[in-house]
């Protein structure tokens, strides 16, 4: 900024001083700002504003169709002593942790398998994606039937095989219900992990494996010292997304159990919806949603700083 002003005054002292407007028009830093403006507006309008609004709502007693008053942290204080809220937090953590861990294990296994030279490779790869393509609500409805308390195909088959003589209470028993929704989530989430990791595997140069083979490395050593380190950045990204999606899951639960039986599968997202939209307590629902933010931030931090020690994202060489 300064140099423009200086050249102006030195060369043509008789001219007027550069006004602030001139600077805004000609300065390169400002030019950058103008170019950034549309993107910034986009981000503020579609990301920051809704997030800010949600947090603001959580400090009010807004109900659907009615503007609320600012009530400070009253919603949070109430939730702090609310057994159902804490149950939903526990449920969400268990759901996220168990489902993500299994999704990672199965996803990695599938990716390694699909990276081999299999017959019908292209078809198999496409087939793996099927659970991901089916709309969530549809697959949730299918699972709802599969785990139905009266019409479950599993109970039916086992009964006809003579293994059991009663219907398994899949969605009516708290433990079974949790297992069922986690199973459905895993089924749905594995393709995303598998295909993304497969993409990562394809970037690993075959020459590394050739060199390792010449050095007499075993399959496990190759995985441990070549595949795994080179895959870490992708793992970090894919698991961050996987954890975020699982933590904020809504459709599967809502279609399968509505949070039941006795709130055993209520996640924070479903409880928030029930309180905010169904029961009309927008403020309280927003507080439950906002309470998810610290958990989500923590999940991002862990993967970003824990798994990504490499300076890969700064474009530097690996250490």
């Amino acid at each position: 900024m300064a140099d423009i002003v200086l050249t102006h005054t030195k060369a043509k002292p008789q001219l007027r001083e550069a006004t602030a407007w001139d600077q805004v028009k000609h300065n390169r830093n400002w030019l950058g700002f103008w170019f950034m403006l549309p993107a910034m507006g986009f981000l503020i309008f579609f990301l920051a504003y809704p997030l800010g609004l949600g947090i603001w709502l959580s400090f009010t007693d807004t109900k659907i169709g009615r503007v609320g008053q600012f009530i400070g942290s009253e919603n949070y204080e109430w939730l702090w002593d609310d057994a159902i809220f804490w149950l939903s937090v526990t449920n969400t953590l268990v759901y996220t942790f168990v489902a993500s861990a299994i999704k990672f294990a199965i996803g990695l296994y599938l990716a390694l398998l699909l990276n081999e030279n299999l017959p019908f490779k292209a078809m198999l790869r496409a087939a793996v994606l099927i659970p991901f393509i089916v709309p969530t609500v549809l697959s949730a409805l299918a699972f709802w039937w599969i785990f139905d308390s009266q019409f479950s195909i599993i109970s039916w088959s086992l009964k006809h095989l003579g293994i059991i003589d009663y219907n398994i209470n899949f969605l009516g028993d708290t433990t079974w219900a949790r297992i069922c929704v986690i199973f459905a989530n895993i089924w749905r989430g594995v393709p995303f992990v598998a295909i993304t990791l497969l993409a990562g595997l394809q970037t690993v140069s075959p020459s590394l494996y050739e060199a390792a083979t010449l050095d007499g490395a075993s399959r496990w050593q190759m995985f441990r010292h070549i595949t795994y380190p080179l895959l870490t950045p992708i793992i970090a990204v894919v698991m961050t997304f996987s954890v975020l999606f699982t933590f904020t899951d809504f459709q599967l639960i809502w279609a399968m159990t509505r949070g039941g039986p006795v709130n055993a599968t209520h996640l924070m997202a479903t409880l928030s919806y029930q309180r905010a939209i169904i029961a009309g307590q927008l403020g309280e629902g927003a507080a439950i949603s906002s309470a998810m933010i610290p958990f989500l931030l923590a999940a991002i931090m862990v993967s970003w700083f824990g798994l990504q020690r490499r300076k890969w994202q700064q474009g530097e060489n690996n250490d």
Binding site: V67, G260, P261
Partner: protein, 439 residues
Amino acid sequence: MHDFTRRSLLQGGTALAAAGALTGPALLDFAKAWAQASPWKAESGAKLTVMRWKRFVPAEDDAFNAMVAAFKTATGTEMNVFSESFEDVQPKASVAANTGSGLDLAWGLHTLPQLFPTKVLKMNDVADYLGKKYGGWTEAAQKTCMLGNDWLGIPVATIGGYLTYRKSAVDKAGFKEFPTDFPGFLELCKKLKANNTPAGFALGHATGDANAWLHWILWGHNAYTVDKDDKVIINSPETAKALDYCKQLSDSFIPGVASWNDGSNNKAFLAGELFCTANGISIYVAAKDDPKMKDLADDTYHALWPVGPVGKPTELQLAVPILAFNFTKYPNAAKAFVAFMLEKDNYEKWLTGARGYLTHTLNAYDAAPVWTADPKNQVFSQASKRALPASGIGKVGEKAATAIADFIVVDMFANYCTGAKDAKTAMAEAERQLKRIYR
């Protein structure tokens, strides 16, 4: 959105022609004569936007649309009718009330007009007119729509739910008549289980079914969420008794009721695995419409909810009131339309179209043909009379609706019946949540 285009009218017309003489010149003549004599003259150039809940039965929708079309022709009022799913009606009506635009009439659920008493058009004259002409309103309907001496809306109908059972199973259990009190009902359920023809009632988050039967048990024991001044009284010995009764009852149910939603009992009943449940008339209608289920339909009967220790019927039925907003530019047209809907020539045909889903709130319609057309419909004619408002004995309004929507009573019973919590904890938890809603 559903604008009345020529096409939709034609479609409606063909369906109606098939359904019988619901429309045609007769209805139009009546509408014209009515418009001449009506105390409310639609403003010239009036245009009404009406939101309603999405119908269950096509024939009900057809009858409704025929009325709309006749009203349009007779009064020259432009009618724009659209339907929303159950859960969207209240939010959309609230937004219209808030912004003062978008809708003239809203036909919603529960106590909708009580949510914004300052934004609705007072319907006192319409209520008086209809009440005088048709034998008065039922008590629950009146409470649902009135605030002080003012009518905030008109209780168009009630969507009734009653006990639906297989007569063969109840006979086999040794009951000639369906029990009418709580001990008898428990006895029946135990026998049904022993005979391997179990009963089942939803203990999951089934908005309609679970709330209905659990409130019935709660109220039947003279226990309520709040008293008449909206003071929370759920934590009481009466509630404890209700919990105990419900636990004994639920021990005799078909396994899996804790996972049930509103559709589960329909499925199980129609599949012949469930022999007694509570539901709208839909189970019976579905069985009747399916030629393959003739035996099941013949064996299916309805019964009134047994009366609890409190000694009077304590049913939770779903009210469907209509309201007009006070910012409408055409208040007379709005009132005229509401009154027109409930006139005998329209309303009886409409009830017939609804096949028992809708129950009248005006006493004179006890004699409506729908209740005698099929004797098994008869039970449902009582829905508006035997119901308490959704708030029980408390004040009708938003807070009661919130408590129901948040499944507070359902969760309390489910927690105790599934053994997740003891009675004290279950009641204390419900009390805490209710106190927040009623703060």
